[in-house]
C-alpha cells in the first residue's frame, strides 16, 4: 500500500471513529470502507492512529471488540466543568451486584444475595439493566426458573474493556471450592494461622 493511500485510510478511519457513537470493529470498518480493503491494512492504520493519539487529550481505545475515540481520563474534571455536570455516583450495593454478575455470569439473583448476604432489590437490577450493563441471558432450570443475568455490551463499552477476559484480576478470583479448600487447610491450626496470607484473597 502506498504512503498516500495509507494516509488516506488513516484519515478515513479517524473521521469514522470520531463520528461514531459506538466502537467500530474491523468488520464494521471493512463494511464501510469497502470489502476489498484488507483487514490487515485497517489494523495497521489503527495502530498508527493509536500511536498518533498517544499522550493526547483524546485517545483511541480498544473496547467491546472495536475502537472508539474518547477523551483522556485525566481530563474528566475539566469536562465536568465545561458541561457543569456532576457525575452520578453509583451505590456500593449496585457496584457489588454488578461485579458479582460480571465475574460470575451467568448468575441468578439468589446467588448474588447469597454472596452479598443481603437482599438484591428489583429496583437495583432494573437500574443496571437500564444502563445496558446487565441483561437476562436466560433462565436457570431449577425450581422457580429464575433469571440468569450476565453483562451486556454497554458494560464493556462503559468500563473500557475489550472483552470479559480483560476484567481486572479475574485470574486471581477463587471459586467456592478453592475457598472451601483454603479455609479447611488454614482453619485448623488456630495458633499458627498466618494473617498475611489472607490479605491476598
Amino acid at each position: 500500500m502506498s504512503v498516500g493511500k495509507a494516509q488516506a485510510l488513516c484519515s478515513q478511519i479517524e473521521a469514522l471513529l470520531l463520528a461514531s457513537d459506538e466502537p467500530l470493529s474491523i468488520l464494521r470498518l471493512r463494511n464501510l470502507l469497502g470489502e476489498e480493503m484488507p483487514g490487515s491494512d485497517i489494523r495497521t492504520a489503527i495502530s498508527e492512529l493509536e500511536a498518533h493519539y498517544h499522550n493526547r487529550g483524546i485517545q483511541i481505545v480498544q473496547v467491546a471488540g472495536g475502537w472508539q475515540l474518547r477523551t483522556a481520563a485525566e481530563h474528566a474534571e475539566l469536562i465536568h466543568q465545561l458541561w457543569e455536570i456532576r457525575p452520578q455516583k453509583l451505590s456500593r450495593s449496585a457496584m457489588e451486584t454488578l461485579a458479582i454478575i460480571a465475574y460470575r455470569q451467568p448468575a441468578t439473583r439468589a446467588e448474588i444475595e447469597a454472596l452479598r448476604g443481603v437482599k438484591v432489590s428489583s429496583q437495583m437490577i432494573s437500574t443496571l439493566q437500564e444502563r445496558g450493563w446487565i441483561k437476562v441471558l436466560g433462565r436457570k432450570e431449577v425450581p422457580g426458573r429464575p433469571h440468569l443475568y450476565g453483562t451486556g455490551k454497554q458494560f464493556l463499552v462503559d468500563f473500557g474493556l475489550d472483552s470479559l477476559k480483560d476484567l481486572p484480576d479475574s485470574a486471581q478470583l477463587m471459586d467456592e471450592d478453592e475457598i472451601q479448600q483454603m479455609v479447611m487447610e488454614k482453619i485448623e491450626p488456630h495458633e499458627e494461622a498466618n494473617e498475611t496470607d489472607t490479605e491476598k484473597s
Binding site: Q88, E96, V118, G132, F159, G160, I187
Partner: protein, 256 residues
C-alpha cells in the same frame, strides 16, 4: 425488638473494646460489617474470636436508633448465626469431614467472608476504572432525523432499552404529563353496553361499529372487559379468530 434477647446473652464486660460508632448506612449488609470488624482490628479471618465479634456486632445493631425493616432481617439472621457459632465453639465438635477431621463451626462463615471480600474488592476496582460518561467522553456526530433517512436497526429488548435511554438523555430526561379530562366514562359506557345486551346478544364487531373515534372504542372495550370481570356478561368465541359474541350472563342459550 432484639434488645431483650441480647440482654440475656450478652454481658457487657467487653466495654474496653469500644469501637468508633458506625451507622448501618455505611455498610452493605452483615458480611460487610463483619469484614470491617475483622480487618480494622487485624483479626484473622481463619480464627475469628467468636465471642468478641458477636458482642461487637450486636453492639452495632443495638446502637442503631431504628432498624429499617427492609434490611433488618438480613442483619438479625447474621446475629443469630453468630450466637449459634459462639455456643457451638464451646461444645465438643462431633462433626467430621470426609477424612475424619473435625470441622470448625466457623469454616462456613470464613468461606462466606472470603468470597464476599473478593467481590467487594473487585467492585471497588471496577468502580475506579475510568468510565465512559463519568471520566471519559465521546463526541459522536448524530445527524438529526429530519436531515437523514435512518433505516431501522435490528432490535432486541436490551438494544431498545439502551436506545430509549439515549433518547431520554437527549431530551434531558424531561417527561411531561398532560392530564386530560375524561370525556367518556367507562362506568357510563358499561351501562350502555348492558342496556344494549338486554335486547339480546350482539357481535363485538357490531357493537364497536357504531363507536365514533378511538377514545370511544377504547372506552367501550374497557367497559366490556370490566363487565366480563364482574361476570355480568359472557363472551363467546366459537372458533379461533372467529367472531366474538357478547351475551348477558344467564342468557347463554341465546346466540347473536
Amino acid at each position: 425488638m432484639n434488645q431483650a434477647v441480647q440482654a440475656e446473652l450478652i454481658t457487657h464486660e467487653h466495654e474496653s473494646h469500644a469501637l468508633p460508632p458506625v451507622h448501618l448506612d455505611q455498610f452493605e449488609g452483615p458480611l460487610d460489617i463483619l469484614l470491617h470488624l475483622i480487618r480494622s482490628q487485624e483479626m484473622d479471618v481463619f480464627d475469628i474470636p467468636m465471642a468478641l465479634i458477636t458482642t461487637q456486632y450486636l453492639g452495632i445493631l443495638e446502637e442503631q436508633n431504628e432498624l429499617d425493616l427492609e434490611v433488618a432481617g438480613d442483619y438479625l439472621v447474621m446475629a443469630s448465626t453468630l450466637m449459634q457459632l459462639k455456643s457451638r465453639m464451646l461444645l465438643p465438635r462431633p462433626e467430621l469431614d470426609d477424612e475424619g477431621n473435625e470441622i470448625d463451626p466457623r469454616a462456613e462463615l470464613a468461606a462466606q467472608l472470603i468470597a464476599y471480600e473478593q467481590y467487594r474488592m473487585l467492585s471497588e476496582e471496577l468502580n475506579e476504572r475510568p468510565r465512559l460518561g463519568r471520566d471519559l467522553f465521546l463526541r459522536p456526530v448524530f445527524p438529526e432525523s429530519k436531515e437523514v433517512a435512518r433505516p431501522l436497526p435490528e432490535a432486541d429488548l436490551d438494544g431498545l432499552l439502551v436506545a430509549f435511554r439515549t433518547v431520554l438523555k437527549r431530551v434531558g430526561g424531561e417527561v411531561r404529563h398532560r392530564i386530560f379530562t375524561e370525556t367518556m366514562s367507562v362506568r357510563e359506557r358499561m351501562a350502555t353496553v348492558l342496556e344494549r345486551l338486554c335486547k339480546g346478544g350482539i357481535l363485538l364487531d357490531e357493537l364497536l361499529a357504531d363507536e365514533p373515534g378511538r377514545e370511544a372504542l377504547v372506552t367501550t372495550l374497557l367497559a366490556i372487559l370490566e363487565l366480563w370481570r364482574q361476570q355480568a356478561i359472557t363472551v363467546v368465541q366459537s372458533e379461533n379468530l372467529g367472531s366474538i359474541t357478547l351475551l348477558i350472563k344467564g342468557d347463554s342459550n341465546e346466540r347473536g
